[in-house]
Amino acid sequence: MLRRFRLEEPASVREVSELLGRFGESAKLYAGGTELLLAMKEGLVQYERLINVKTVQGLNEIQSSDGIIRIGALCTHHQLENSPVLRQSLPVFVKLEENVANVRVRQVGTIGGNLCFAEPHADPGTLLIALGAKLVAEKTDSRREIPAEAFFVGAYETCLEPDEVLTEIQVPLPATRSGIAYLKFGYLERPSVGVAVAFSRNGGDSIGDIKIAVGCAGPAPKRVVEAEEALKGKTMEEATQRLAQAGQVAGRAADAISDLHGSQEYKEHIVGVLLKRAFQKAVSQG
């Protein structure tokens, strides 16, 4: 049962940050509530106050300018899957969002809430790491940009300071002829393993920059530089031959843990399979 709490309704990010600073751990930000309210109903967490960030204007817009796609942290998954800007510039993200949880969650759950709750079995963080996204955190008197790969520090833990608010996700517009794919596998409601690949092509037919990220396998999504090294600078043919090796490396580097979704060994194997398929998909779409 949900216990009684006070609902604060600030009008600005500054106010939100002030409230967080004033009430500390007895208060929590509330956006879509799809994760938070469930945990509260279960009695796993208790807060005296919820700070409703939905009352802050201007945090639910999606724009593309100066080579950067800017996504407001309060955008719902539903908004993201239907955004003309994303459909045009980042269809891979639209595809991911179309498959987040279920229609009820997508209708109210927000991208910012998803990232800040840092539930290990979630999709967006993994792809955002591979895309080289930056997350904008603001508080009363400062603002900083955090690379997505540095944002997650563990299960349910991010690097946000107690009075910081995630306000925007900035994704660099992918270069033309870049290959991007995100694939996940799972048999429960949440994904068991997710793998994202994003690469640019050099002048010829070789891979330029490449980022590979693995999610859900371990406590937090992470970039697997070791697997990137195996493919970077290689021609498509060479890279294709090295996929099995890169997959093994990614599996080992994924920091996989055994849980209800599968054993560590199983997840490491699936990382390899998904990396191979995601790379092939990225090549075919690039």
């Binding site: 929590k28 796993l44 290990p120 299960a155 833990e157 406590p219």
Partner: protein, 150 residues
């Protein structure tokens, strides 16, 4: 969940043994553990264990019962407690042994940890990793305490 840890301490066995029974200093080495009380010297103790995974906090008032004690070499104990706020229980079977190796003492401990109730919903893997980290920090803290004042 079963954990096994070993730590080499540059200190004589007697000093390590005495440290273990110095409840306040010993408990100070267990991350998140506080308010240690001796209920019956050498037999029963009480403490408050707090731990945190992201927004999830637990607070277990635990009692520790010493089951077996072989002077200077081994202690078997059991700790158990419940967090009624979130409806979870914890039980730890602890087997601690000391072995002298040259000028060092090898402190080994085997812990069998059972966590029941809603806390288990966080997932076995995450809890295991957290517990592993707690035990590592504990081993290092004991080492620092004993070697620091050698």
């Amino acid at each position: 969940m079963r954990f096994e840890k070993e730590v080499d301490i540059r200190a004589p066995k007697e000093k390590v043994w005495n440290f273990i029974w110095d409840v306040d200093r010993f408990i100070a080495c267990v991350p998140g553990c506080k308010e240690a009380k001796t209920l019956e010297a050498g037999k029963r103790y009480a403490a408050l264990m707090t731990e945190k995974v992201g927004p999830f906090r637990v607070e277990f008032p635990i009692t520790i019962e010493v089951l077996e004690r072989d002077e200077m070499s081994r202690i078997k104990a059991q700790a158990s407690g419940a967090d009624n706020k979130i409806g979870s229980r914890m039980k730890i079977d602890l087997d601690v042994s000391l072995r002298e190796e040259g000028d060092k003492t090898k402190l080994s401990f085997v812990a069998g940890v059972d966590i029941l109730g809603k806390l288990a919903a966080l997932g076995h893997g995450i809890i295991k990793r957290k517990a592993d980290q707690v035990l590592d920090d504990f081993a290092q803290a004991v080492k620092r305490q004993l070697e620091g004042d050698a």
